[in-house]
């Protein structure tokens, strides 16, 4: 759901974890599965554009397939009452 808040943007693991409230022990395996499924694709920050002294971070972007798939998941979740609170902000 957090990925769909900015479907075309770049997302980082820690940022996704903080925004979604999902622990990294759950989030990273999910991201790995989504990568395997082709829902997201990953990349690395360009080191020449970094202003801080830190290594380039790995980002994740939703693919078209991922957007469609997550849209379908969202559509399905809307029909189930138990997800109402979760998807309220996407309604």
């Amino acid at each position: 759901m957090t990925l769909l808040e900015d479907p075309t943007g770049q997302h980082w693991g820690y940022e996704l974890s903080k925004r979604s409230g999902v622990r990294s022990g759950v989030l990273y395996p999910m991201l790995t599965r989504m990568l395997d499924e082709g829902w997201v694709e990953d990349g690395w920050e360009d080191p020449t554009t970094l202003r801080e002294k830190r290594p380039p971070r790995r980002y994740y972007e939703l693919t078209d397939e991922g957007r469609l798939a997550l849209g379908g998941v969202l559509q399905q979740a809307r029909t189930e009452a138990r997800f109402t609170g979760l998807i309220g902000r996407f309604a």
Partner: protein, 213 residues
């Protein structure tokens, strides 16, 4: 309270804070990511993410990564090790197959090579033989030609000689006939003249005899 403040601002406490919030998270995280396979991008990703985490949260975040690394990284390592083991078995099997295929290829190659060699040998041998045969035949025919030419030449010479001889003989005969003819003619003329003279003499004698008579 003063004791507490003293304890907080003491060197050991400062050292402890530096270790817990400064040195330890990065050091421990670098040890933790070793649980991931060598080429796993998660190694670099987690180290880079550490710098995005506020310092105060780093120790706990690193502890969380230990949990992830133990269950995700070690699982990857085990599966990678299993893949390597099965890959080696497959490689060994493939190597065995390769040896068998190599033997088969060598055998087929040897047989094919032998047949090709035989074929090439036959063709080359036939060519050389034919060439040699043609050379010999040419030589023989050349000799025959020479002989025939010589014979022809000799024959021609002989023929020419014979022709000359025949011509000479014929000419001689012709000349002889002519000569004989001419002689005969001359003799005939002479005989005729003689006959005529004789007749004339007889007639003159007769006339004279008559006249005298």
């Amino acid at each position: 309270m003063a004791e507490l403040i003293d304890a907080v601002v003491s060197w050991p406490s400062l050292l402890l804070v530096l270790v817990v919030f400064g040195f330890a998270p990065g050091f421990c995280l670098r040890l933790i990511v070793l649980a991931y396979p060598r080429n796993d991008p998660r190694r670099a990703e987690l180290i880079a993410e550490l710098y995005a985490v506020p310092r105060i949260q780093r120790p706990l975040w690193v502890a969380e990564q230990l949990e992830v690394a133990l269950f995700e990284g070690l699982a990857h390592r085990v599966s990678a090790a299993l893949r390597r083991l099965t890959g080696r078995r497959r490689a060994r099997a493939r190597a065995g197959d390769r040896a068998e295929r190599l033997k088969f290829v060598v055998m087929v190659g040897a047989v094919a090579g032998a047949w090709v060699g035989v074929g090439v040998g036959v063709v080359v041998g036939a060519g050389v033989g034919a060439g040699a045969w043609a050379w010999v035949v040419a030589r023989v025919w050349a000799m025959v030609g020479v002989v025939a030419g010589a014979g022809a030449g000799a024959g021609a010479v002989a023929g020419a000689v014979a022709g000359v001889v025949v011509w000479a003989v014929v000419m001689a005969v012709v000349v002889a006939v002519a000569v004989v003819g001419a002689g005969a003619g001359v003799m005939a003329v002479a005989g005729a003249v003689a006959v005529a003279v004789a007749v004339a003499g007889v007639g003159a004698v007769a006339v004279v005899w008559d006249w005298a008579g």
